[in-house]
Amino acid sequence: MTAPDADRVPSADEPLDEVDFGLLDDIRELFEAADPMPADLPERIRFFLALRDLEIEVARLAAEEDLAAVAVRGAEQSRTITFDSDSLTIMIRIDTNPDGTARVDGWLAPPQRREIEMKTAADSLNVTSDEQGRFAFARVPRGMAQLVVRPADQPDAAGRSVVTPALIL
């Protein structure tokens, strides 16, 4: 990277030249080192987009401290995660089965019957919540997973599907 004329102060109105492109490449490398995007983020977003609906509501992690827990792959202790969307709060507790798979118990607020899908990298598991909004997945493989909550028994109903961000069980 050598300026053609190092003594001349470059003007803002000139076209971009190779020195500028070289500097921008260097800046990119600096920030790739200083603040790298998590390497698996594009994969998680692709996973997330693959189950999009037309009528979909995206839930958010309700508390920052949960994010750290979500990031801990294969944590032994049970953990509780809450997701919020405009229409629904989804709380899940994740425990470890003796065989290493995850058990997921969940609650919907307000309580209601919904079809609930646990989408994993391998396949998807389906349950229905009861009138109290409770649901359970007895055995879920470890790895990336995502919940999709759909209106129960009424495919054409006005209720919207709610998806959570991808999380690591």
């Binding site: 990277m1 050598t2 300026a3 190092a6 003594d7 102060v9 470059p10 003007s11 803002a12 109105d13 000139e14 076209p15 971009l16 030249d17 020195v19 500028d20 492109f21 070289g22 500097l23 921008l24 490449d25 260097d26 800046i27 990119r28 490398e29 600096l30 920030f31 790739e32 080192a33 200083a34 603040d35 995007m37 998590p38 983020l41 594009p42 998680r44 977003i45 692709r46 997330f48 987009l49 693959a50 999009r52 979909i56 995206v58 958010r60 992690l61 920052e64 994010l67 750290a68 961000p165």
Partner: protein, 201 residues
């Protein structure tokens, strides 16, 4: 990805926008794979947009997911790489500010102004090993104002032909006819020229 190598980036740049435009066209026709390739291609750019806005890593991930979800609903309006990149940058930045505003509301008696956003630019990150030239560049960037730091950080990750569109999306247009250097790069080069370590090859 091999485009961390600057030489590869330079060689690949003219094709990058063309490739993205064809991916957009395929994604509009329902190709999951094309959409996925766009995600892989442009998420590093959007990550820098979200982080430069002062978001935590977790919030930045949420904001990126939201921006990509919104894109899917708007794909029919977007036909080229520059429009796509500008749309994603604008949406990510807007969503990042929404998240930050929501967080500020949760802090009682918080008088923080927009100008006091925590600096996510050079100097605030963990120390990385830099050679003299890189250190001079890092120091020169640190001396620029916050807006210029943000602009350079973000356009450094944008497909090269889309620089002007991205700068405009950030509210800092760099040329009304063709993309010009703009005052931020000009200031950076002036800084480097005044620092002997920075102008050495």
């Amino acid at each position: 990805m091999d485009d961390r190598n600057p030489a590869t980036v330079q060689a690949a740049q003219p094709d990058r926008s063309v490739r993205i435009a064809s991916l957009v066209s395929a994604a509009r026709q329902g190709s999951e794979d094309a959409l996925g390739q766009i995600v892989t291609e442009l998420s590093p750019l959007l990550w820098q947009v979200a982080r430069a806005a002062g978001l935590s890593s977790g919030d930045a991930e949420d904001v990126l997911q939201t921006a990509w979800m919104r894109l899917v609903a708007h794909l029919s309006d977007i036909h080229d790489s520059a429009a796509l990149t500008a749309w994603l940058v604008t949406t990510t930045k807007r969503e990042a500010w929404r998240v930050r505003a929501a967080e500020r509301r949760q802090l009682p008696a918080d008088q923080e102004s927009l100008a006091e956003v925590p600096d996510q630019g050079p100097g605030s990150e963990e120390q990385i090993i830099l050679d003299d030239q890189r250190r001079a560049l890092w120091a020169a960037i640190s001396r620029l104002n916050a807006r210029c730091q943000e602009l350079l950080r973000i356009i450094a990750f944008a497909p090269r032909p889309d620089y002007a569109a991205v700068a405009a999306a950030l509210g800092m247009p760099i040329g009304s006819i063709g993309p010009t250097r703009g005052r931020c790069l000009a200031k950076l080069r002036a800084q480097l020229a005044s620092d002997p370590a920075g102008s050495s090859p």
